[in-house]
């Protein structure tokens, strides 16, 4: 597609339930990033995928969070046993390659509310 596509755009879930957020990066982009943005806060790095290399998971806040990228394209971020503090906007981004100076293109985000 023309841009980074994320789904769902909005998700309300009950505490304790699992959620899956999907990201479809720009075609041909080998680097894919997940960030989280809480109200009034800066973007928090979660995870990074580059081609077939092992992902950098250093930003994942707990073991309830996981992500995978299938076939070097679509990525899914999974949050298990959701907590209220998980409520945030989850932003996916992609870039042509993961090198300094590369423009990162963001999707519109998935707004997650845990009630």
């Amino acid at each position: 597609g023309a841009g980074v596509s994320q789904s769902p755009s909005n998700k309300v879930t009950e505490k304790g339930k699992d959620v899956e957020l999907r990201c479809d990066p720009i075609s041909g982009h080998t680097a894919l990033y997940w960030y989280r943005q809480s109200l009034g806060q800066g973007l928090e790095f979660l995870i990074y995928f580059q081609g077939n290399s092992a992902p950098d998971k250093s930003g994942l806040p707990s073991d309830r969070f996981s992500a995978e990228r299938t076939g070097g394209s679509v990525s899914t971020l999974t949050i298990q046993r959701t907590q209220q503090e998980d409520s945030a906007v989850y932003l996916c981004a992609s870039s042509l390659v993961g090198t300094p100076g590369n423009t990162i293109y963001f999707g519109e985000g998935s707004w997650l509310t845990v009630v």
Partner: protein
């Protein structure tokens, strides 16, 4: 890790004036510093990138400066327009190839 501070208060300016936003960082100087624009309910959009060996970069009505001695970047919007109203985010690398650290952003409102 890198700490980034942007103008803590929202910026309200009159149309036609210049808006100046600051981005201060601690620790090491990044190789690249980037500015993004974010509209309500939307993802950030890349605006400008400046390298550590560049003092100034311009794009249309936007100007970015980078002072590695002061550990500061300034972002200017000249001849501001109501359409410039948005939140502007400063981002810089964490010393590796790909991770960007983002500031919390400064919200700019341009009054007609």
């Amino acid at each position: 890790s890198q700490k980034i501070e942007q103008n803590s208060e929202a910026l309200n300016i009159q149309e036609g004036k210049t808006a100046t936003l600051t981005c201060n960082y601690t620790n090491y100087s990044p190789a690249y510093l980037q500015w993004y624009r974010q509209d309500p309910g939307r993802g950030p959009v890349f605006l400008l990138l400046i390298r550590e060996n560049e003092k100034e970069k311009r794009k249309e009505r936007l100007k970015v400066t980078f002072d590695t001695t002061l550990k500061q970047s300034l972002f200017h919007i000249t001849a501001s327009q109501p359409a410039d109203s948005a939140t502007y985010l400063c981002a810089l690398d964490q010393g590796n190839d790909y991770k960007l650290s983002f500031g919390a952003g400064t919200t700019v409102t341009v009054r007609a």
